[in-house]
């Protein structure tokens, strides 16, 4: 029993990522898509949130949305895992519940 949390909001614009991370349980997974990928870059204002969450949750970033924003996967917060749409589908299979943080 675990949940996939899907976040699509830029953390510099909305509070969805911080809300999500404060609610996510141990063993849950967080997937950053659309503008949420902007928060994944190493050294960003929200990098510390991601780093502390990584102790209990796996955090994934959608590669297509990184590419669409000109962001390179090798400049992300260490420990984040990059997945494509196929990986996105796999995450929804692995976790029996999911929540979109709209």
């Amino acid at each position: 029993m675990s949940m996939l949390h899907i976040v699509n909001k830029s953390p510099f614009e909305r509070n969805a990522l911080a809300s999500c991370l404060s609610h996510a349980s141990k063993g849950d997974a967080v997937l950053l898509i659309e503008d949420a990928v902007l928060g994944a870059v190493a050294g960003s204002q929200v990098a510390h949130l991601l780093l502390s969450a990584l102790a209990t949750q796996a955090i994934y970033v959608l590669s297509e949305d990184l590419a669409a924003r000109g962001m390179e996967p090798n400049r992300l917060v260490k420990g984040l895992q990059v997945v494509d749409y196929s990986g996105f589908v796999d995450l929804t299979v692995q976790h029996d519940k999911n929540q979109s943080w709209l």
Binding site: S86, F88, T92, S100
Partner: protein
């Protein structure tokens, strides 16, 4: 696995319609089933067949229509959201005394119950929106 997708935003307005489409394609490619796509709020605008984007841009509505046709996906547009936004099929246009209808192939108009039923019938329900 069997999926129901919910799309709450219109084409060319927010990325979520494109995200939902790419997710659906990836899920189908892996052998999963998309049982239903439910279009709600501004998402109903994905079902207009009268959209004409510039030639070098994707035609979001047609992408959905083609996907539904290829894979037998049930694509449902919320009736209350559709009526507010002028999205009509033949029967609804006639019932409302209107002179035109604009629903794209592969879409049908029905109620919120279809979302609930889709969630019950499916292993996973994924929401795409703003």
């Amino acid at each position: 696995m069997k999926y129901t997708l919910m799309v709450n935003e219109g084409p060319y307005q927010h990325q979520s319609s494109d995200t939902a489409y790419h997710f659906a394609k990836a899920a189908l490619a892996k052998g999963h089933e998309i049982f239903r796509v439910f279009f709600y709020h501004d998402g109903v605008n994905n079902g207009s067949r009268l959209s004409v984007p510039p030639k070098d841009d994707r035609l979001v509505q047609k992408q959905w229509s083609d996907l539904a046709q290829q894979h037998g996906i049930d694509m449902v547009i919320c009736i209350a959201a559709a009526q507010r936004r002028g999205l009509m099929d033949t029967a609804e246009a006639k019932r409302q005394g209107l002179d035109a209808h604009n629903i794209a192939p592969g879409f049908r108009i029905s109620g919120l119950g279809q979302l609930i039923e889709g969630s019950i019938e499916s292993d996973r329900t994924i929401v795409f929106g703003d």
